[in-house]
């Protein structure tokens, strides 16, 4: 059984198809990246899968439970870090965690034990008795992640968890996401950050204008876009490489040539260097970045 199964899920807002017949599945214990430009329909998808809003049509199951007919049972197995939600500003960090723990029906003692562990782990234990309204954005987000984890859920929905955070908080959150996989949790992660997705995710689904574009592993995605790679070369003198029959980009002292035939390019460069008495300082072949893939598949609108 897959942890999340989605079939033809759709949702419109006043005639705008925010999510348009989306289908995919997420395997158990996998980190699944959900990538798409702003307004692509990521948050709407997360909200439907977490039982916050109802889909117009289609169906989905989380851990085998139907999101419409078994909404409450779905909510019991998942933890959520919504994109735009806040903790209660006039409650303390501790109060917020205990509220969530009670709403999941966790006995008080057990809730307190988990809250202590989580707050220590995220470096906010010393501030547990302070009201959340005094917290920095990074601290608030670490608290929100603690709140998502306090019920020890099997599936986690993290909607842009590191967006707009300081480097340290973002790193702490990324680190924790990696550990979740070791604990056999399933993670559904939406993100803008290609590097983050490439680094963390086993598979990536790309959504654009409400439609699913593709689902694949980051490695496959990189090799899939026309098989094009970048050959990068640095020479000891500035020269006009455009005499070669390739399209050359120059960035600083590095020349970059995009090609589907790296073999031919490298031979031509080596021949050219030998002929002109140039010294090759470095030469390497770069697979396309996830960003290249993303831009190509979504028509160039990253939305950042």
């Amino acid at each position: 059984m897959d942890a999340i199964e989605v079939k033809d899920l759709s949702k419109s807002f006043e005639g705008l198809k925010a999510v348009d017949s989306v289908s995919f599945s997420v395997h158990t214990s996998e980190i699944f990246g959900f990538l798409g430009p702003n307004g692509a329909g990521k948050t709407t998808t997360v909200r439907m899968l977490t039982g916050v809003i109802k889909p117009d049509s289609g169906e989905a199951r989380v851990m085998g439970r139907d999101i419409e007919s078994e909404t409450k049972r779905v909510k019991e197995v998942l933890g959520v870090l919504p994109e735009t939600a806040n903790a209660y500003p006039d409650l303390t960090a501790w109060g917020n965690l205990m509220l969530i723990a009670s709403l999941y029906g966790i006995p008080r003692r057990e809730g307190e034990r988990r809250a202590t562990t989580l707050l220590k782990e995220f470096g906010i234990y010393e501030r547990r008795s302070s009201k959340v309204k005094g917290f920095s954005k990074g601290m608030k987000q670490r608290l929100m992640l603690s709140m998502a984890l306090v019920s020890d859920p099997e599936v986690l929905f993290l909607d842009e968890p590191t967006s707009g955070l300081d480097v340290q908080s973002a790193r702490a959150i990324r680190q924790r996401i990696k550990e979740l996989q070791e604990e056999s949790k399933t993670v559904f992660l939406t993100s803008h950050n290609m590097q983050e997705v490439g680094e963390l995710c086993d598979r990536v689904g790309i959504i654009n204008k409400g439609k699913m574009v593709t689902v694949d592993s980051p490695e496959h995605l990189r090799t899939r876009i026309g098989g094009s790679v970048a050959v990068e070369v640095r020479l000891d003198r500035a020269v006009d490489l455009s005499r070669l029959d390739f399209k050359v980009e120059r960035a600083g002292d590095t020349y970059r040539i995009y090609t589907t035939e790296p073999h031919d390019v490298i031979r031509a460069i080596v021949g050219f260097a030998t002929l002109n008495g140039l010294k090759i300082l470095s030469l390497n072949v770069q697979p396309p970045s996830l960003e290249d893939v993303f831009v190509k598949l979504t028509g160039g609108s990253n939305g950042q």
């Binding site: 909200r47 109802k54 049972r73 909510k75 709403l103």
Partner: protein, 242 residues
């Protein structure tokens, strides 16, 4: 279920009891209204106290519950809350409970003032049951005010004041129902507050306009109706709040 309701109510108590609009509309407002009515008129305390209790319970019980939903919409705390395994019914009942506790506790103040002024409560049990039923009924009414999915607390407070003000004047607080003209009695019978005021007069002054069972039945029916409507309307409004 019970512990989830209590968790919601406790959150509400910590978040909302000391919010500006709650203190203004729930405590200061009935106090000033009462003073405005009382000062310069020579009325016996036994007549005034039931009216004061009625006004207090009506304003306090309807002051916490309408604030919660618009405020949470604005602060964006609702999405996290309803991602938890709780139903809208649990949320609503928790909100009503917080409002109910506020209403009953503050309503004890005018009763205590009355006793201090030498007014005797002839039927304390009737008064206690009436307070409990009325606080629940008006807390649920307060949640009806907040059914429009807005994030503006001030709009909801304006709406609720528009409804609450006339109710105070038609519910036998300033003019007892038995002194009203026929059309006045007809209008008064529509207001749930009329039945509480009647019970309070019975418990303190010793006589009521309606039979006791009719007062209790009316309060109970209104409470059930408001609760039912509050759950229905908020279930529909909730997805529009984020």
């Amino acid at each position: 279920m019970g512990s989830k309701i209590w968790a919601i109510a406790r959150k509400d108590i910590q978040m909302y009891y000391f919010k500006g609009p709650v203190v203004i509309f729930g405590v200061l407002f009935p106090l000033f209204l009462f003073l405005a009515f009382y000062i310069g008129r020579n009325l016996p305390a036994a007549f005034l106290i039931p009216g004061l209790v009625a006004m207090t319970i009506f304003f306090t019980s309807t002051s916490v519950s309408p604030v919660i939903m618009p405020w949470e919409t604005q602060m964006r705390t609702l999405e996290r809350l309803i991602s938890c395994p709780v139903t809208v019914r649990t949320l609503i009942v928790g909100d009503i409970l917080a409002s109910f506790i506020f209403g009953t506790c503050i309503s004890a103040v005018p009763v205590a003032v009355g006793v201090a002024l030498g007014v005797s409560v002839k039927s304390p049990v009737i008064l206690a049951i009436a307070v409990i039923l009325a606080a629940f009924c008006f807390s649920a009414l307060g949640l009806l005010f907040s059914a429009p999915p807005t994030s503006l607390v001030s709009n909801i407070m304006m709406l609720s004041t528009f409804v609450k003000f006339p109710v105070i004047f038609i519910s036998g607080i300033f003019i007892p129902v038995d002194q009203m003209p026929g059309w006045g009695v007809a209008v008064a019978s529509l207001s749930p507050l009329t039945y509480f005021t009647d019970l309070a007069r019975y418990a303190i002054q010793g006589y009521a306009y309606y039979p006791l069972y009719a007062d209790f039945a009316a309060l109970f029916v209104y409470a059930a109706l408001f609760l039912f409507l509050a759950v229905r309307l908020h279930e529909r409004a909730l997805p529009k709040r984020f």
